[in-house]
Symmetry: C2
Subunit: 393 residues, 2 copies
């Protein structure tokens, strides 16, 4: 089931290589409320700058997205191009410009091929009667190997609502957003004033808990649009129905985040890193991220080497409060290190067996307090290097 | 020419694979002053813990070093083993235990094979009449592909002195030290009270300005021993001769640091990254390091792709004060980006030509102030992944 009142379109505009969808549209037939979270990178792409302004009023009816060109580091020309793109879409849909967001992903520093946008946007708008959200999910892919789409449903005041979300990831995935685009639509009615915090909290516990390579992009964007077509009374915070919706949204974003890690460039392993017993939640997160981002740890995962020494080394330089002689490390249920030392016995063989699996959990207990965090990451493989050495060529 | 009054030895103790030197000794015949800089990782190996204590009194006559086992995360047993190693060497040389430092590099979390140390140390001490510093440089190699040795000479009060230094690096190279060992000996007499600061400053402008993979090890150690055999009056700070010595020392450590980067695991490029116009020196350093540590930038270097977009992206998330529209980026003398935008013309072709060279300079001008920093880094290649995926196997 998909949320009511949304339409989709995707076309080939020749921004990417021929034969691939690269321009897409999400459109709510009725006025809708919206919120968005953007990259914290100080170098922000033109569509991010424009969309940040537009989403402030909380009312958005359409999003136009392209892949193949990030429209980043393109100066005033880039802002003008982003503006023109939204204007063309707004004209086609009969909307005010301000109701249209724009999002881009791809190569940085190249001018947008605007003649291709101008040629393609009429087709894009026309196609909105026949498209699907899956088409949009395909059109925003760059080095992604599969489209990412999740749906969740719930009810409020007897009205059933649906949330549907798509995402693209692959490279440059890191907390505080990354070259990561995600668009979420729902037919639930949601209190407009709550929407920004609702989305920010959900992003913090999902997209901000994954890391593929520690890079953070210029274009990261997550947009949530709620059009109220389900007919419920607007959901509010601190109510059971509001909390249920928030939980569904978190759950959906986390599912998308996990798919992004699984589809990380060259990834062969999906690793859940849980840090417990940290002096604080912040310490737990910083520890988990230091381990997740360590190139030595990630290559050991790829090599299926139960090298807990590299893990404790990353724990040591994370900056968190650590006492070597208290650190426990497990792969799944196999204890590799106890109180900062090798657990001995057959743990090496059993730990190596865990690492042969495509998915496993690394648990680190610091025994300093109650701080807890979970992050998701992938390994570092030959293919990561290959994909990124050859990306533009 | 080598510093007077030092002797060296290196043997095969079977700590590493057969047929490789893995245990070495540096010995000053006369009492000497010494200082050392150690890893800032909170997880410190046993030899680091012991040597940190010993060097405090500023008097050291011998250093025993092994490769193949880091003696890290080995608990009280590891400290006992480090202690025993120094005791065996001290007995052999007829020194008090306190005059002997110990240093280890290799796999983390495995007990030291003490029976091999006990069997080998007598041979090691005996060999001190016939060894060279080059032997020691070879014995401390792990995944290094060549030994690293540099010498510098100068004079003070008419007396000629020499400084000789060796280093190992390869993986886990990152500011604030890394799996990096360096031992520097000089026959200059140097003021004992000055020595710690002298060494720290030299390390800050050399080893702390390189990055191979952003990991920081449990065992990093740089030791400087000065035995005064040149016969000069002790060199002091804020004197012309003291400053000349400090400059020679910095120059020697920087040469070793550059060799470490060139021998970075799998490295095919040597890249000098200079950031200028930063709001502060700290901002310049943090920017240069963010770029140096970006996996996307490093894979682009490997792919010889003049992808300045990834560079400006890393600049943006570095945390430094940045205005996109002011950033200039050059590869050698080819301007790739001007005021945050593509420089246009034939810069793409010319930039790509620069990246085909084995060594080049990346210059980033932030135009925010006077802050300046230079760091040295390598690319990220298939071989980095291969070496680190297979390291223990």
């Amino acid at each position: 089931m998909m949320p009511k009142g949304f339409k989709y379109s995707a076309v080939e505009a020749a921004i990417k290589k021929p034969g691939r969808l690269d321009l897409a549209l999400i459109f709510s037939e009725a006025p809708a409320v919206a919120a968005a979270v953007f990259t914290t990178n100080k170098v922000k792409a033109a569509p991010v700058l424009l969309s940040m302004e537009r989403v402030k009023n909380g009312s958005i009816q359409a999003v136009v997205v392209n892949s193949g060109n990030a429209n980043a580091c393109t100066g005033q020309q880039g802002v003008d191009d982003a503006f023109e793109t939204t204007r063309l879409v707004a004209e086609g849909l009969g909307l005010p410009d301000e109701e249209v967001l724009v999002s881009s992903t791809g190569v940085i520093g190249q001018r947008m091929p605007m003649e291709r946008f101008r040629a393609a946007i009429p087709k894009l708008v026309e196609g909105v009667e026949g498209g699907t959200l899956d088409d949009v999910a395909r059109a925003i892919m760059t080095t992604d190997t599969f489209p990412k789409l999740e749906t969740r449903s719930g009810s409020a005041g007897g009205k059933v609502y649906t949330i549907a979300g798509i995402a693209k990831g692959a490279g440059m995935i890191m907390p505080n957003m990354a070259t990561m685009l995600s668009f979420v639509v729902t037919d639930a009615a949601v209190d407009k004033a709550w929407l920004p915090k609702l989305l920010k909290d959900a992003v913090d516990s999902s997209f901000n808990c994954i890391s593929v390579d520690g890079d953070m992009s210029t274009n990261d964007t997550t947009v949530l649009i709620a059009n109220g077509a389900a007919g419920n009374a607007p959901l509010r915070p601190d109510t059971p129905e509001g909390e249920e919706f928030a939980q569904q949204l978190r759950d959906l974003l986390l599912a998308l985040a996990r798919q992004i890690v699984k589809d990380g460039e060259g990834a062969t392993k999906f690793v859940t890193i849980t840090v417990k017993g940290a002096a604080s939640t912040a310490d737990a997160k910083v520890t988990a991220m230091a381990v997740a981002n360590s190139m030595l740890v990630k290559t050991a995962f790829f090599g299926e080497d139960a090298n807990w020494g590299r893990i404790i080394c990353a724990v040591g330089y994370s900056g968190a409060q650590v006492q070597t002689e208290k650190v426990d490390i497990c792969f799944d249920d196999v204890q590799m290190a106890v109180n900062g030392q090798f657990a001995g016995g057959d743990s090496e063989a059993r730990g190596s067996a865990v690492l042969k699996k495509p998915e496993f959990t690394l648990t680190i207990d610091l025994k300093q307090g109650e701080g807890f965090a979970t992050v998701y990451t992938s390994d570092l493989s030959y293919d990561y290097v290959k994909i990124n050495a050859d990306y533009r060529t």
